[in-house]
């Protein structure tokens, strides 16, 4: 069956450190992946996405890496700030998960200490 999962439920870092949040997915037919950030009491907020024909994509302070060989996705946050504290979800979309729905992982809580 399809599943998107995260390796670590909680990641604690110091302000200024680089953070890496990992995600494993099982559906090799997935062709689009997104990282969302969810702050307490709010809806998921788009961070960055990547298509399956790419290995890496960079945004402002964030980088997503996709390794299709091992079905692994990671989110790197440079110079982590206290405002980055939130739960981070990876999500996938693909033709045989339903062409529109996003399948979310269980989430990793990022805690940034000053």
């Amino acid at each position: 069956g399809e599943s998107v999962g995260l390796h670590l439920p909680t990641l604690s870092v110091q302000e200024g450190d680089n953070s890496i949040i990992n995600c494993a997915y099982s559906n090799s037919a997935s062709d689009y992946f997104i990282w969302y950030k969810q702050e307490s009491g709010k809806g998921p907020q788009f961070i960055i996405d990547i298509r399956s024909n790419m290995d890496k994509r960079q945004g402002q302070r964030v980088t997503v890496l996709l390794n299709k060989t091992v079905k692994h996705l990671s989110l790197q946050i440079a110079a982590t700030q206290p405002g980055d504290s939130a739960v981070y979800f990876c999500a996938e979309k693909g033709t045989n998960t339903g062409f529109q729905k996003l399948v979310f992982g269980t989430g990793t809580r990022l805690l940034v200490s000053p």
């Binding site: 062709d31 689009y32 997104i34 969302y36 009491g41 709010k42 809806g43 998921p44 907020q45 788009f46 996405d49 298509r51 979800f89 999500a91 979309k93 339903g98 062409f99 529109q100 729905k101 996003l102 399948v103 979310f104 992982g105 269980t106 989430g107």
Partner: protein, 115 residues
Amino acid sequence: EPEVTQTPSHQVTQMGQEVILRCVPISNHLYFYWYRQILGQKVEFLVSFYNNEISEKSEIFDDQFSVERPDGSNFTLKIRSTKLEDSAMYFCASSVSGTGAYEQYFGPGTRLTVT
């Protein structure tokens, strides 16, 4: 920046009652979605809607659920007879397109509490 809005922010209802959750998607978006998140769990897809009809739904979206776009701006989720296990955050989302790599923008959510 345009955003998805949802009302109410918190809805408390008794088991067996009907509830309607409301959403205003981003104005130029054509695809609309409902997701739910039970406390402490992951976000789960419920239904997608395009061109005034359901285009995809999950096994969670049974006959107790329905969606409607009653006018040009609102998108609603109705639960006919709520159960305790319907207690969750319900998120509305919208996107420009439904296929390919298009970001879904999420609203702030409605917390539904069924007592």
